[in-house]
């Protein structure tokens, strides 16, 4: 057994380290090292919730966005949902549509940058697909080899998505325009027209670049599976065998319908439900659709740096006592569980709770009239790297379409109220109230809880997606989703170009523009990596003196789109 450490895990938000204990597996072709157990360490603590105490409850909308600059908008929305609930009033249709448009555009940005800037490079390397590898050879490389063409295009496109967020939110990151029971921004035809023109381009990119890129990766999957299977003498089916969790998926629902907002609120009240008229449904899938209720959520702390007396509590009872040097504890995150079981949250959880394991999404661009159908059969019902990537692509297509539809629908509500009529003016704040906000951030289910006493925040709690996915073992010793997903991941003793050459030995890449002749994929990558000092990419020396390639393991971690600033914000008491 060896110990292999990845710290820092880059191309995520925040400071994450992962320790892996290995085991050796011997087959007819050799002895191979795989991950036996994994431990996720989160390496930053800021104490956000305590900083919120004693403040005007509405400040939480501004301050909680700053928990995370990659996913600020969902924190703002969830804070506002908790305030809606505490105010005991519902937003008018105009406000619901504006919120949906803002967050729809935001989602398009977020899923795009993850697909291309964060997880894309490893997928591009594995699938010998230059458009998803960073443009390491610049414009010449883009022209001659297509190296980084989609990566570079994504940087341009995500900017357009955030332009739409700024139209409705003032700016991004950290928008300003939401208010308890509504919004502060007015619907104008100018904003609607600007939204439609930007979203049309984004829709085109999603359908005509992102989807083909995904399919290009998938088209290499059988080849990757066969090559790895014969090399290792194992049954490896491809990217769907990388990163499975437990087959349990949790979603709180996303993008409510103004026609029947009661179903949305009922789930905030603690009732069981699907929020089934929302675009993305709430649910607790465990092999079949199950209704969701927040009353079944508990947080455990056996391996977290908190006193055992507070383990197993619902967030509304969430009182935290730090024990910095607790024996056996290895994480700042707690371990949230649903019905005491481990649930994965995120894009795949949203898709499965809404569409099951077979997705067929028909969309029509309302501006151009173009139609498109996205089809996907979940390749691993316990979740996998490729299923998570596919779920993000599917949602980019779906949300880009819906954002345009909502913008068109908003034309009927140009003169509607933008906050509940129960709000007399900006001075009004309820004296005593509590509220719970349940929303889905791109990384998964997000909960905010606010308790107002004397018009001020007495207690504030967040349970965020990365706590679900990256949290440690619980009191029942069940590993968290990422810890589970890493088990069995192969840690080759070969560097990235060598593996690329093993997968793709043909010398079929014309590198004459760079003074070389025809080269193989691995050799081309070596040419790009070496001058940058990146030749030992993802290679980690372990405590047994051997050096392992962590590319597959780090891709598993990145497939969850970790966000550590979100996950670690706890109260120190």
């Amino acid at each position: 057994m060896a110990k292999v450490v990845m710290d820092p895990v880059t191309r995520i938000e925040g400071h994450l380290g992962v320790t892996m204990e290995t085991k050796d597996v011997t087959t007819s072709t050799g002895t191979w090292t795989v991950v036996d157990k994994a431990y996720s360490h989160t390496n930053l603590f800021r104490g956000w919730e305590i900083i919120l105490r004693g403040r005007d409850p509405r400040d939480a909308f501004f301050l909680t966005q700053r928990i995370c600059g990659v996913c600020p908008a969902p924190h703002g929305e969830t804070a506002i949902q908790a305030l809606d609930h505490a105010y005991g009033a519902v937003p008018p249709p105009t406000a619901i549509l504006i919120r949906n448009i803002l967050h729809g555009a935001y989602y398009v940005y977020d899923h795009m940058i993850h697909t291309y800037l964060l997880i894309g490079p490893e997928l591009g390397v594995l699938a010998k697909y230059p458009p998803m590898v960073p443009p390491a050879l610049g414009k010449d490389g883009i022209r001659a080899l297509g190296l980084g063409s989609s990566y570079a295009a994504c940087i341009e496109m995500q900017r357009k998505a955030n332009k739409v967020v700024a139209l409705w939110g003032g700016k991004f990151p950290h928008h300003t325009s939401e208010y308890p029971t509504g919004v502060t921004v007015k619907p104008t035809l100018d904003r609607i027209a600007n939204t439609l023109s930007n979203m049309t381009e984004l829709w085109d990119f999603a359908v005509n670049v992102m989807v083909p890129d995904l399919m290009a990766i998938v088209s290499k999957n059988d080849h990757i599976a066969e090559t790895v299977s014969s090399l290792l003498d194992i049954d490896f089916n491809g990217l769907q065998d990388l990163g499975p969790t437990y087959g349990n998926f949790l979603s709180y629902g996303l993008f409510p319908d103004y026609n029947d907002y009661d179903k949305w609120v009922a789930v905030q009240d603690g009732e069981e439900g699907y929020r089934d008229n929302a675009l993305i449904k709430a649910g607790a899938w465990d092999g079949d659709f199950k209704k969701f209720t927040h009353t079944k959520i508990k947080e455990y702390v056996k391996y977290s740096r908190y006193d055992d007396s507070i383990t197993g509590r619902h967030p509304s009872q969430g009182d935290v006592i730090v024990v910095k040097d607790k024996p056996g504890a290895y994480a700042w995150m707690k371990a949230p569980r649903y019905e005491d079981k481990v649930y994965e949250v995120g894009p795949l959880a949203r898709m499965i709770n809404t569409y099951g394991l077979n997705w067929k999404i028909d969309v029509t661009n309302p501006v151009t009239g173009e139609s498109f159908t996205f089809k996907w059969k979940v390749l691993n019902p316990k979740g996998s790297v490729i299923d998570r990537v596919a779920a993000r692509v599917a949602q980019t297509v779906l949300f880009a379409t819906k954002t345009m539809e909502w913008a068109i629908e908003l034309k009927q509500f140009l003169n509607g109220d933008i906050v509940s009529t129960k709000i007399p003016d900006y001075r009004y704040v309820p004296d005593n109230a509590e509220g719970i906000g349940l929303w889905d951030a791109p990384r998964g289910a997000l909960l905010h809880y606010t308790k107002i006493r004397g018009k001020k925040i007495e207690n504030y709690q967040c349970i965020v997606p990365s706590t679900w996915n990256l949290g440690p073992r619980d009191d029942m010793d069940q590993p968290g989703p990422v810890e589970k997903a890493l088990e069995g991941a192969w840690l080759p003793e070969l560097d990235v170009p060598t593996i690329a050459n093993a997968l793709y030995p043909d010398k079929d890449i014309d590198a004459s523009a760079f003074g070389l002749g025809m080269v193989s994929w691995g050799d081309a990558l070596a040419v790009a990596l070496k001058p940058l000092g990146l030749a030992p990419l993802n290679m980690e020396k372990s405590d047994n003196g051997k050096t392992y390639n962590t590319s597959l393991a780090i891709t598993v971690v990145r497939s969850f789109d970790p966000c550590i600033a979100c996950g670690v914000h706890f109260i120190i008491k």
Binding site: G47, V70, Q158
Partner: protein, 359 residues
Amino acid sequence: MEFKPKLTRRNFMKLAAAMGATAFLTTYKSDIVKAVNEAKDYWHINWINAAACTGCTVSFAQASEPDLVQILTEITVGNSGLPIALPDYMETVHPASGSLAESLKERWKNGTPGKRVLIVEGAMQAEGFCTVAGKDMREHVKEAAEVADAIIAVGQCATYGGIPAAKPQNGQPNPTGAMGLSDFLKEVGIDKTVINIPLCPVHPDHLVLTIAAVMIGATPELDDYGRPKAFFGRNMHDEICPYRPYYDRGVFTRKPGEEGCRYVMGCKGPITWTDCAIRKWNDHVSYCVQTNMCIGCSEPGWPDKFSPFYKPVASLPAVLGVDFGTLGQGLLGAAAAGIVIHGVKRALTSGKKEEKKEE
């Protein structure tokens, strides 16, 4: 014929100040790219995230003029060798991870003397709250600052501490002893100038222009809080707010949906110095006041001295807790008090044409 003044090292920040960041970038884009290309000689950038939310990194990726793709493909920076403004070290986007990523930090330290830029995002904390590769963040930043030839703090957290340095409003202390970079450097005995580029998050135009200025040797003139005067020299409310005519007519927004000056609902424009109102955000389409109000994120003491956000600015000393003499440049104490008292009178008289400006 060319009527625009020639861009030089000397007039770089002056032109930026005179024209505003946006117009300056548009007018001089090719000159800036050319100047940076000539001066590049491999600048080494080390971008460290301390107690950060990564919002400044994301904001940097929203840079529009020159947009990031052009920087990606036209300007070569750093010994990363990438035709990318890819810093030698930047956790959020770098291809490398783990021990290789850490070795790039070391390589940055050994870069060409005079060419090493340190950019810090996020607040500095007491020991034990942030570690990377088993080493405390304080050590990472201290070691880098010791060799850095230029230091830029981006965003409200790295400049003045931001929310990580805020205190709960129930009398308890800040949970992690957080502070801005310049305070931290003083604490550990490093006497170097920090260029502070606040706002939450940093504005990409500000950052792109400051990096360009550093590279071509154009030293930005800084105010008392370390901010480039070119970007933070104007009062939002008094000098550049497009809603100012409402204020002068006494028309105030009192509930969502009403048009008017945002002063009464709590806008912090009167005590905020930044060019947001004319530069705007995300391809210059909007800014905070256009969809709600200003919360004052360019200023030291934010958020505590600006919160509750939905409360009108009452009087400057009460808000800032400092006397007028120590306030930033551009603010004459008496005139500023005049602004505020003027505003309060407006609020109280609810739109009546009263002009009792107290000096």
